[in-house]
């Protein structure tokens, strides 16, 4: 109970901060928009059915924009030693992790909800299908859970902007592949039997990443 309450307090703080600065939303939104527009117009000139490429474009945009957001969220805590304020409080380290991961998940989900209609309109494709939304949700959960851990780790290093993608992309690759496969399967009209394997794969990786991150976060933040 204490863990959940403390985590929600951290989410509340991050929400107020983001509401006032709009740093993460604006950078993620502009980035995703640019990716969509660039891919849309470059593929339209050379490929007859650009919709075939939508799963890859979608997840490339989400992955890169998510990395921007994770890096910013972590460096906000580590810059000026704000993280010390959290570590001094009598709350479990796991509560700090859950709070930061939950905040990242919420920010990324809101950006995705804003981005999906634009994506659908530009590629003339309905992305508001339950299984696509499930793929985006499960992919984002996995990405945010391991990303929160790795972005905190990277934020302590000198070359934090370089370190985060180097650490994150190889580890998050199974999640991205599964999410692309699931999204593509839904767009191609695959049956549940064909797609269930990817849903199970995403759930399994989410649980593994969440468990490992919860267990190891304290070693990242404690000197």
């Amino acid at each position: 109970m204490n863990t959940i309450r403390s985590a929600l307090t951290i989410v509340w703080k991050d929400m107020i901060t983001e509401w006032r600065t709009k740093e993460m939303f604006s950078s993620m939104f502009v980035f995703i928009l640019l990716v969509i527009v660039i891919f849309k117009f470059s593929f339209d000139l050379r490929i007859s059915n650009a919709a075939l490429l939508v799963p890859g474009i979608l997840w490339a945009a989400l992955t890169f924009a998510g990395t921007l957001q994770l890096g910013r969220a972590a460096s906000l805590e580590v810059e000026d030693a704000h993280v010390d304020g959290l570590l001094l409080a009598p709350v479990p380290r796991s509560a700090i992790y859950v709070g930061k991961a939950l905040g990242n998940l919420v920010f990324m989900s809101i950006t995705e909800l804003i981005m999906l209609p634009i994506f659908s309109a530009l590629f003339n494709l309905n992305l508001f299908q339950p299984l696509i939304l499930l793929a985006i949700f499960l992919g984002t959960v996995g990405f945010a859970s391991v990303g929160t851990l790795l972005s905190t780790m990277a934020a302590y290093s000198r070359a934090r902007e370089v370190m985060l993608p180097v650490l994150l992309f190889p580890i998050v690759l199974p999640i991205v592949i599964a999410a692309v496969k699931l999204t593509a399967g839904v767009i191609d009209g695959g049956t549940w039997q064909e797609l269930a394997v990817w849903v199970r794969f995403l759930i399994a990786f989410d649980i593994i990443f969440l468990a490992i991150s919860l267990m190891t976060f304290r070693f990242v933040v404690e000197g």
Partner: protein, 241 residues
Amino acid sequence: MIHVRGLTRFYGPIYALRGVDLDVEAGESVTILGPNGAGKTTLLRILATLLNPSSGEAQIDGKDLSTSSYDIRARLGFASHRSLIYDNLTVEENLIFYGKLYRVPGLAARTEDLLRTVGLLSRRRSRAGTLSRGMLQRLSLARAIVHKPDLMLLDEPYAGLDQESAEMLEVLLDAVRGEARTVVMTTHNLERGLGRSDRMVILTKGRVVFEAPSSSLTLQQLRESYWEHCRQDSGAEEVPS
């Protein structure tokens, strides 16, 4: 209250602390002096459970820092020259945020009371980022005592403050000491340290090299002791390979 024996910490090949022994009684106020790199901040960060020692033992009220850090954190307040205040939250929201993490009962009343004490009640709705350095340090002190800690750890609280702000902070720190809290403070200001503590400790090269009750020292004697111990290169030493 604080019991430290053989505390050692190194960063890679550099010793920050090498075998520090220190005891602080409950209600006592101790000032730790020392040049840059002497290990003062490292010692305070270990006591604040922000850093693990490489070896040695550290206890607060008989509880080991490494095994009871959760209980200990609820009882200590830590303030340094870094405010730990979020610029984009208001003055009041900062205290509410930390108060919630510490599960402070009657938080609204406690926040108002603290803001009045530190003279920031009229700025309660201002974003912390708009405060001056002195105001920020006062808010930082309010943050550190929001949960009424028994033990205060103050790491160079006067750093970067102008004379007026330093004097205001001094009045606040006197009030903190007046509430019978145990205080351990590091500073470079010998006069402030001597005037406001029961015991003076000098740390150089990660070792306690001098300890005396403040009442037995004049400022001149303290200066002489300080220079005697800190005259040589007093920075951190390398761990022998």
